[in-house]
Amino acid sequence: MSALRLLLAAGDWRSWAVFRRNTLVFARHWRTAVIPPAMEPVIFFLAFGLGFSGFIDDFAYRGIDINYATYVAAGLIAYTGFGTPYYEALYSAYFRMFYQKTWDGILSTQVELPNVVWGEILWAAARGMVNISIVALTVAVFGAMGLVDVRPQFLLFMPFLGFIAGCAFASFALIFTAIVPAIDHMNYPVFLIGWPLSLVSNTFFPIEPESPALWALMQLNPIYHLAECARGLLVLGDPGPHLLGLVGSSVIWLVPSTLLAVRLTRRRVLGH
């Protein structure tokens, strides 16, 4: 299958059949699937955003003074937009592939392996949308209470921005899902890649690298663009150049990651 056909498989009915399967399973126990994971960023927001706000003076963001809680609100949306699809495509996909043999069952039908990979990517990104919505709702409540200063109408855009980046993060995670020998080895992509990456992306604190090489690397990081895009919209109503950066960097991650994930998953699941 050519690379182009493989990428176009995202729109194939078979990829969406896998997506619907995951949706149905999710709907069966959505309470346990949504509430505990979505509480993590909310607790982060309470602990760091509101907690630290009392110790940190307001600072200038693109010419406007904002408090730290407002800064972190956008960062947590980005963190959720990264973490949810990333961990979904790592742990949940691994369970479906390895323990539950769900993919084996699906692959004995008309659904092909690229469809399974795309179904997982789209599903993980959609899960990100769900959790971002909960965080956005929380931010809206704190906004109404005067604890953060955001433009609430722009919170509606957050899940969709998260979906774009979520596809990239999920495809990247599926590379590890295809190669880790056992679930314990997930610690490597989680603690050595995911966690550090989510911290150095203008989520909880601003980073302004002076080195051109580091600056260029940041431009390739969708979490950074997601955080800045969300922040720009929520504070100023203007995403600035980061909307383009978000789409561009997400595509740059998504295309090679998906191609590699399909190749590695084929080797893992089908043995060739």
Binding site: A17, K101, T102, D104, G105, L107, S108, T109, H272
Partner: protein, 307 residues
């Protein structure tokens, strides 16, 4: 004349330069069961995986109802049902949802899906569990559900990979009945099994695979005759002349001398049997027709997996 649903010619698969399946030919016709038999590592599962599209063959052609699989993959897969050894049921869904979701992986869509699912639940004895998770099912009923799921889209051919492994005798018989009824309805079935009685009773045709090659094929009894000969002599462990008889039979060309729990089992020709009767009339031994157990043991010994 029966219609060939599946025809494979020159099927070959190599891993690391070694032919796991080598120039295999096979045919399965409408309303018949083709049994694939062989020792562990003989190439049965790889053959099956090539036939239902999990792995591409390195050489050879697979046709379904005259259409090349590699050229009409999606259309052909619409007519294939697969029931693998592994339990890949959805334990987060109900029994009924398992069937509905599996059907959603096929286009064109299954006609009257709700009715089809209800029929299958009824027929496979699963209706009382329709709204429950497969976790409540016994091993036999799990297997029933797996088979029901594999035919929910009304395929024309069904692959069953060791369908009764791990089941108790009663559940095995139930599965046999189901397979028999599916065959009677015209479904072509390709079956792998380690149970000799299962292969013998269910298969219309047997293909014996050894080191990736088909070494015997045809009706079960004919296959046994081709590989083993006419009779099997059994010499009990307490017969004093046991070793002498074995050596004598070997000297006459009997190579498949197996020892099972101390007793000798030796496939022999009619001529050897007559000579044995004349020479060892006073010794204690029995004779019976060969069965698939003998065939399996012989294949395993050839493969170096049974001593």
């Amino acid at each position: 004349m029966t219609t060939a649903i599946l025809e494979a010619r020159g099927l070959t698969k190599r891993y690391d330069g070694r032919a796991v399946v080598d120039q295999l030919d096979l045919t399965c016709t409408q309303g018949s069961v083709l049994g694939l038999l062989g020792a562990n590592g003989a190439g049965k599962t790889t053959t099956l995986r090539m036939l239902y599209g999990f792995v591409p063959p390195d050489a050879g052609v697979i046709n379904y109802a005259g259409r090349r699989f590699d050229q009409h993959r999606s259309e052909v897969k619409r007519g294939i049902g697969v029931c693998t050894q592994d339990d890949s049921l959805e334990y987060d869904l109900t029994v009924e949802q398992n069937l509905l979701v599996y059907a959603s992986y096929f286009r064109p869509r299954v006609d009257n899906l709700e009715r089809r699912v209800a029929e299958l639940l009824e027929r496979f004895g699963l209706a009382p569990y329709a709204r429950q998770s497969p976790q409540v099912l016994s091993g036999g009923f799990v297997r029933r559900l797996l088979i029901a799921r594999s035919i929910v889209h009304t395929p024309t051919i069904l692959f069953l990979d060791e369908p009764t492994t791990g089941l108790d005798p009663s559940a095995r018989l139930d599965v046999w009945e189901l397979i028999d009824s599916l065959r009677a309805e015209g479904l072509a079935i390709v079956l792998t099994t380690h149970y000799m009685d299962e292969a013998e009773r269910l298969s219309d045709d047997l293909l014996v695979i050894h080191e990736g090659r088909g070494i015997a094929r045809g009706e079960p009894h004919r296959v046994i005759d081709d590989v083993l000969g006419d009779h099997v002599v059994i010499v009990p462990r307490n017969e004093p002349a046991r070793e002498e008889i074995a050596a004598w039979l070997r000297s006459r060309g009997a190579h498949e001398v197996a020892t099972v729990l101390g007793e000798l089992r030796v496939p022999v020709s009619k001529e050897d049997l007559v000579a044995l009767t004349a020479r060892y009339a006073d010794a204690t031994w029995q004779v019976r027709p060969p069965n698939l157990d003998d065939l399996f043991i012989a294949l395993a010994r050839r493969n170096g997996r049974f001593e």
